[in-house]
């Protein structure tokens, strides 16, 4: 198992961030190199992603399941699946807290890569898994940053209606 973690602060209220990360339609798009996103329920989505590190190219089919651990403050995302004869199991835990002028997000991801890729990539895989994981959260941060006020409102509304 490999563990990666990080944190960042953005100038958006916690509710907005929470609504984003708990929306499969939004969170799904943060997965890097996404080919296909299939939202199966309000907390479950399937993605087909393009995995490409130089000549190593393939597609991974990943099922992602969101669990709320503490409403509005903490959630975890379990990602499971694989491709190219290999398996991927990740559990990303996210926690939000209010800070001056925005929200602080801490994330920690435990990743287990199995199969030929884990066996063959001894020299390379750690760096790559880290990069991909970090990209998820960079994408998340960027997406939150570019959210216009309108979009934020729409998200909040959608989240509200989903809850209803």
């Amino acid at each position: 198992m490999r563990t990666y973690e990080g944190e960042f602060t953005i100038d958006r209220p916690r509710e907005t961030v929470w609504a984003f990360v708990t929306d499969p339609h939004k969170m799904g798009t943060c997965i890097p190199d996404l080919i296909e996103l299939n939202v199966e329920s309000e907390n479950r989505f399937r993605t087909l992603v393009r995995v490409g590190v130089g000549p190593v190219r393939g597609k991974f089919d990943l099922t992602c399941e969101l669990t709320v651990t503490e409403p509005g403050a903490a959630a975890s995302l379990a990602i499971r699946g694989g491709g190219m004869g290999s398996g991927v199991d990740m559990k990303a835990e996210m926690s939000l807290s209010d800070v001056d002028g925005g929200t602080h997000m801490k994330w920690r991801c435990d990743a287990v890569v199995s199969g030929p890729i884990a066996s063959l990539g001894g020299r390379l895989i750690d760096g790559e898994a880290r990069k991909i994981t970090e990209k998820v959260f960079t994408n998340l941060k960027n997406a939150l940053n570019v959210l216009s006020k309108e979009t934020r409102a729409a998200v909040a509304e959608k989240a509200a209606s989903d809850e209803g």
Binding site: P55, R57, R123, L124
Partner: protein
């Protein structure tokens, strides 16, 4: 073990190759020497839909001197550079590096351009090209451009080439004075990827001081790296026990090794220091007599 089924194209000119690369885009993969790509395909961790085999393009083979530089065709095989006696004097690092690449059979097939484009962090050629301050000549649909080697490697297996650009040659500046080089590498067994490696190229001015210092670091980061601090410390200095020791201590500072089966990051850093000292000492000895080195 068999690779996945793919479409095979074997262009006979660079233009045709680029046309095919443009046509197939992401699905296309250029096959140079194939000594890294084909094993990955056999293991099915690489599965390109189209292989564009550039082995039949004669324009990409061999080397010549152009405008005071050495231009090496991308499809020049490792073994050709290993045995290129006419280059031993002015570009000794070529042969000294080539003989460390994999094994003689792989060297008969693998190419310098293919190795660079593969952008393995343990690329021996990548390391040597950094020491030699090479430029990569790439051609795309809109013409040629020269990419300094420091801008060429972006990340593990990733270069700054566009999808439709083909590496056609390397350009190496000729040394300005008497030059000597060493390639140092520690392997777990003969032919293995490096635990750590170091390419050192030194040229001296007429005053016996270092006029050019190029130091490349192998397998100690996501890409081959440059020991810029050590290079800077050597320029303008004579090669003495003191300057050598000083520069050697600086080499690891530009490395970013990781802990793995080959050893800890600390170990790899120390290997770089040891290699730098050994290489510079040997170089000083070799150049002694050619110019007045203390």
């Amino acid at each position: 073990m068999f690779p996945n089924a793919f479409k095979y194209e074997a262009p006979e000119s660079v233009d045709e190759a680029i046309r095919l690369m443009t046509e197939y885009g992401y699905d296309g993969k250029v096959l140079a020497g194939g000594q890294s790509l084909l094993p990955m395909m056999k293991l099915r961790i690489a599965a390109p839909a189209v292989l564009i085999d550039i082995n039949r393009i004669d324009d990409l083979k061999g080397w010549r001197r152009v405008d005071g530089k050495l231009r090496i065709g991308a499809m020049t095989r490792h073994s050709e550079l290993e045995h290129a006696t006419e280059l031993f004097d002015s570009f000794p690092l070529l042969s000294r590096t080539a003989r460390w690449i994999a094994d003689p059979l792989i060297r008969n097939r693998g190419t310098i351009g293919g190795s660079l484009v593969h952008a393995d962090p343990a690329s021996d050629w990548g390391t040597a090209m950094i020491a030699l301050r090479a430029e990569v000549e790439a051609r795309g649909p809109h013409g040629n451009r020269l990419i300094p080697i420091d801008d060429f490697f972006v990340d593990t297996f990733a270069t700054s080439l566009n999808e439709d650009e083909l590496v056609v040659a390397l350009h190496l500046p000729s040394p300005t004075g008497p030059a000597a080089s060493r390639y140092m590498k520690l392997e777990r067994k003969a032919g293995d990827f490096a635990i750590a490696g170091l390419a050192v190229h030194i040229a001296l001015g007429s005053d016996g001081r270092v006029s050019d210092a190029g130091i490349g670091i192998c397998a100690c980061g996501p890409i081959p790296l440059r020991a810029a601090r050590a290079e800077k410390a050597l320029i303008g200095q004579p090669l003495t026990e003191e300057t050598i020791a000083n520069a050697s201590r600086l080499v690891p500072e530009d490395a970013e090794p990781a802990d793995d089966l080959r050893g800890s990051a600390a170990y790899k850093r120390d290997l770089l220091r040891v290699f730098a000292a050994r290489a510079l000492r040997e170089i000083a000895e070799e150049l002694h007599g050619k110019v007045g080195v203390q």
